[in-house]
């Protein structure tokens, strides 16, 4: 009999994986955690996750994958508070548009600045990332501290997972979100986000994060992620 208790298949170091992990933690859902190496393309892995993607949630005999789809699934399968998407259709579209913005206009440049090996490309990625972050901040609603204002949502999780390891981009590429005017809100926001219990649970020690990103920064990573990131895509 297919289990009602979900299983999360994810890699400890993956900010995409943290999106699903954090969502389950926020909801207080009991789940089994399976440490996964998505680059181990075993037949068993493809049975669990047909496109070979992590994170993947197995629930009642079915697989849900792609981190953003996982977040929506978690919100709908366990519709308790906190809601990861609000009730109102326009507000839901707003959260989706800005989660999409994070995926298309910020994350590729975060990867880009790390995997690109020339200073020119790195600087361009850094600027593009900052432009994306500035737009996200501009779209934040008043009343704080979250993206939607008072209410936490999937939009916070989408950026907040990557945002919590910006120290890594600073370490390798000198990337910093400035402290001036239009970026001030970012710092207040990320501090609040990272203080949440779910973030504290998933975030690995700083040294481990730095070590995990080192092959990418030094241009020796051969993973699909590295290849995709060089092309400005994320799988």
């Amino acid at each position: 009999m297919a289990s009602d208790k979900p299983s999360l298949y994810t890699a400890w170091h993956s900010p995409f994986g943290w999106r699903a992990w954090i969502s389950l933690l926020e909801k207080g859902v009991e789940f089994d955690y399976h440490e996964t190496d998505p680059y181990e393309k075993s037949p068993e892995w493809f049975k669990i996750s047909p496109r070979g993607l992590a994170p993947c949630i197995r629930h009642k005999g079915k697989s849900v994958y792609e981190s953003t789809i996982c977040m929506e699934y978690i919100d709908e399968a366990w519709p308790c508070t906190p809601r990861l998407l609000p009730e109102d259709p326009y507000d839901r579209a707003y959260v989706r548009m800005w989660a999409d913005h994070v995926n298309k206009k910020i994350i590729p440049h975060i990867f880009g600045m790390i995997v690109h090996q020339t200073a020119t490309e790195q600087e361009k990625s850094k600027q593009d990332a900052l432009d994306g972050i500035a737009a996200y901040i501009e779209a934040m609603r008043d009343g704080g501290p979250y993206f939607l204002g008072q209410n936490f949502s999937m939009a916070d999780i989408a950026l907040g997972t990557f945002g919590s390891i910006f120290f890594c981009m600073e370490h390798y590429r000198g990337f910093k979100v400035p402290n001036e005017a239009k970026f001030v809100k970012f710092h207040d926001w990320i501090q609040t986000i990272v203080a949440r219990k779910s973030w504290q649970t998933v975030l690995p020690p700083r040294e481990q994060v730095l070590e995990d990103w080192r092959p990418y920064a030094e241009g020796v990573a051969q993973t699909e992620l590295a290849k995709a990131a060089k092309q400005g895509k994320t799988p």
Partner: protein, 237 residues
């Protein structure tokens, strides 16, 4: 209940915008159709569409963009004639396969037209067929639509591109294999059903108009963000 009428900003040739147009018709929503030229990035247009792209839906003064997000908005704002099912897993399943279309089917569609080297065009054709087969295997066995007897998100996300396959045949000799024994038999059954729907016919231009508009992709003069992304080998906007 909501009013007033949503404004649908679109371009007649755009397959991404056609998705939303189809959704509006399938839902029976009364809307205002506004033709725009998305290549003219005027300040007025950018205030409606921050990314400067079509489709955009403006409802009660607020803009929604990104075709899949527009469709989900439409489905949630006007609950009659649902496009997405109710159960969480079925909804996730639709989204997963919509994502597959975006990441695995759309890129080879454009690469086939835009790449100048025959080898790259052939690779795109091969990739397209492989990924269409993957999608076909995920279809409800009876159909005729992706999830069964009702049209849903995946059908709408794929339809505008499928009805443009004849363009790929015209310029690149691309064809989905036919025949009852073909592994694509289920896909072809889907295609026939989709082509017959009113919403497809009402939102499509003539074959000649499509052949004409896609010429600039094949002679490498296409200036859209999609064309630029394909040429640069980066992600689609």
């Amino acid at each position: 209940m909501s009013d007033p009428k949503p404004k649908f900003y679109t371009s007649w040739f755009c397959p991404f915008a056609q998705r939303v147009w189809i959704a509006l018709l399938e839902k029976g929503i009364d809307f205002e159709y506004i033709e725009v030229d998305p290549y003219k990035k005027t300040p007025e247009w950018l205030s409606v569409s921050p990314r400067g792209l079509v489709p955009v839906l403006v409802h009660q003064g607020k803009s929604v963009y990104e075709s899949s997000i527009c469709i989900e908005y439409i489905d949630e704002e006007w609950p009659e004639n649902p496009i997405l099912p109710k159960a969480p897993y079925q909804r996730a399943y639709e989204r997963i396969w919509a994502d597959h279309i975006a990441k695995k089917i759309i890129p080879p569609f454009y690469a086939m037209l835009l790449k100048k080297e025959t080898e790259l065009q052939e690779n795109a054709k091969k990739e397209m067929l492989e990924q269409l087969l993957v999608l076909t295997k995920a279809m409800d066995p009876t159909g005729p639509y992706f999830a069964g007897s009702q049209v849903g998100l995946v059908d709408i996300m794929l339809a505008p591109f499928a009805i443009r396959f004849f363009i790929l045949k015209h310029y690149r000799g691309f064809q989905v294999p036919s025949g009852d024994e073909s592994p694509f038999a289920r896909f072809n059954k889907w295609y026939i059903a989709i082509k017959e729907r009113d919403s497809t016919g009402k939102t499509s231009a003539s074959d000649e108009e499509y052949i004409g508009i896609y010429k600039r992709y094949t002679d490498d003069t296409g200036q859209s963000l999609v064309a630029t992304a394909i040429r640069q080998g980066t992600a689609l906007p």
